[in-house]
Symmetry: C2
Subunit: 112 residues, 2 copies
């Protein structure tokens, strides 16, 4: 399984988990977050490997559909990049201004 | 209709509109965004005033349910407040540093 794919699904899952059903959440969390194999999940739930696979693929489609509508991951990535840029600038030019640093770091925390 | 209620529903609607059906979108947009009365909407769509009212109330519940799950409005309000605080500080202490000002303002735009 490609690492980029895993990272993307895990990131989408972070944002949209509250919109999924508990069954969708279970399989995709075991597979992507906890790195179980399809076979292991199938065995645990006494269902076929194919059924687990189908469920996970359907949930991936749902996650991507939510991202297409709400763009939360994209928005987060843009904001993170911009806040990083600001933080680097502030640390370079005003390393003594602890108030300014604190204000920027608080913003960084709010984005997470 | 209370102005706070109108503002809140309009704000929630801004965030969660992509998750609503087109019918839900229509009535609530006319009522809250364009300030039509229930009677005017009922007349336009040839349905009862009560049917319009019920539909709008159901959509309000759906909007609040999404907010309870995803907190996008709350998150936006916290970030805006923090970015405002940062901008005020920067404008007061570093009014000559246009690069810094630009970095903060770009962040403000990304939040919208």
């Amino acid at each position: 399984m490609a690492i980029e794919k895993t990272n993307r699904i895990n990131a989408l899952f972070e944002f949209y988990e509250p919109l999924l059903t508990s069954k969708q959440t279970e399989y995709i969390a075991l597979y992507y977050r906890n790195d179980y194999s399809l076979g292991e999940i199938a065995e645990n739930y006494h269902i076929s490997r194919q059924a687990v696979y189908d469920n996970i693929k359907r949930t991936e489609v749902i996650l991507e559909a939510y991202e297409k509508k709400l763009h939360l991951l994209q928005q987060f990535q843009l904001q993170s990049k911009q806040t990083d840029e600001l933080l680097i600038y502030v640390e370079k030019h005003y390393p003594q201004d602890h108030t300014l640093l604190k204000l920027v770091k608080k913003l960084e925390q709010l984005e997470e």
